[in-house]
């Protein structure tokens, strides 16, 4: 019995080592601007590493560079997965600096922000084509998901055969409708969440371990 237990432990240690020796999967957090991507990235990073990824803001295009948090170990139901979280700028097909003027910004700052935003979106698209192993697609569940950008991005992700988990975020808000997002993308699993309040994050982590482990 003791011999059998020792053998089992040895096998377990070897598999653990093999598993930990694997390269962490790079999981891109994608979605339109202001869906809560950075809030989610920060929530995941804080829960599992204690650090944040980047600043959050209600002004669109706060994240203008893809930011990576490496070696985030998530453990759920005995399943452990090590991922690099890549928080990406919100994807759009247009950026008008005048929109930033509405947020009490001087023209010079607004122009600079829009230029950085366009560079960030281009960078995010490049990451998606070349450098991510899976995607968490974050949508604001209070808004209509049936937009061209969402349709195109989900199509691009599907064409790359990347595993994708859709988060219906901002469920703490009154107008939230998870079902609307489920109806828009019935081919993928949609998980409700409030990254801001930390609601339903247990299920989010379970699914991350399941999808990307």
């Amino acid at each position: 019995m003791g011999l059998f237990t020792d053998l089992k432990d040895s096998v377990s240690r070897v598999t653990d080592k093999l598993f930990s020796a694997q390269e962490p999967k790079r999981i891109g957090i994608y979605g339109p601007p202001n869906a809560g991507k950075t809030t989610l990235a920060n929530r995941i990073a804080r829960d599992w590493t204690g650090d944040a990824v980047g600043p959050e803001s209600h002004i669109p295009h706060e994240t203008r560079r893809a930011r990576r948090k490496e070696n985030v170990e998530i453990e759920r139901n005995g399943k452990k997965v090590t991922i690099d979280i890549v928080d990406t700028p919100g994807v759009t097909t247009k950026v008008d600096y005048e929109e930033f003027l509405d947020h009490d910004m001087e023209k010079e700052d607004a122009v600079r922000r829009s230029r950085e935003a366009t560079e960030g979106v281009a960078e995010a698209m490049h990451w998606l084509r070349e450098d991510v192993d899976g995607v968490i697609y974050v949508l604001d569940s209070t808004t209509d998901p049936f937009t061209q950008v969402n349709t195109m991005l989900i199509g691009i992700i599907e064409s790359q055969d990347l595993p994708v988990l859709i988060l219906a975020n901002k469920t703490d808000l009154e107008d939230s409708s998870v079902q609307r997002i489920r109806n828009a993308f019935p081919q993928h699993e949609t998980i409700p969440s409030s990254a801001l309040e930390g609601d339903n994050m247990d299920e989010v982590y379970e699914k991350i371990a399941e999808y990307f482990g």
């Binding site: 097909t93 366009t118 061209q148 349709t151 195109m152 691009i156 064409s159 081919q187």
Partner: protein, 132 residues
Amino acid sequence: MPEVKEDGPNDGGGGVQIDLIGADRMAEMASMEKIRMILDGVRDGNIVILEQGLSPDEESKLIEVTMTEISPDEFNGIEIETYPRSETSDQSFLDRLMGKESTAKLTVIGPANQIETLHKDENLISALVSRK
């Protein structure tokens, strides 16, 4: 479309030029040629309608190249609409292997500051186009 641009109405400020591009013409072009043609047309203030849309990879590159060309007070980017890709959900592996999924349905692309989508569903795209 350079061949119709020389005396096109957009040069005179009268109306809005619409380029309808057939699937056969697109089929002969490389991805970057398609993207260049679309963006050249849109930057001239034209509405470009593709009989057969772009592949997901081409759409991704279109977004990327559009972003690199945005310039304050000059070009704000594009508005693009296609019918929803409802077929992706029941697409078979064989279809994808045969490349049947890549190009979807009719696609409308225009300058972001001139075209506004009023309504869109599975069968109808309604857009408001304004002059420059």
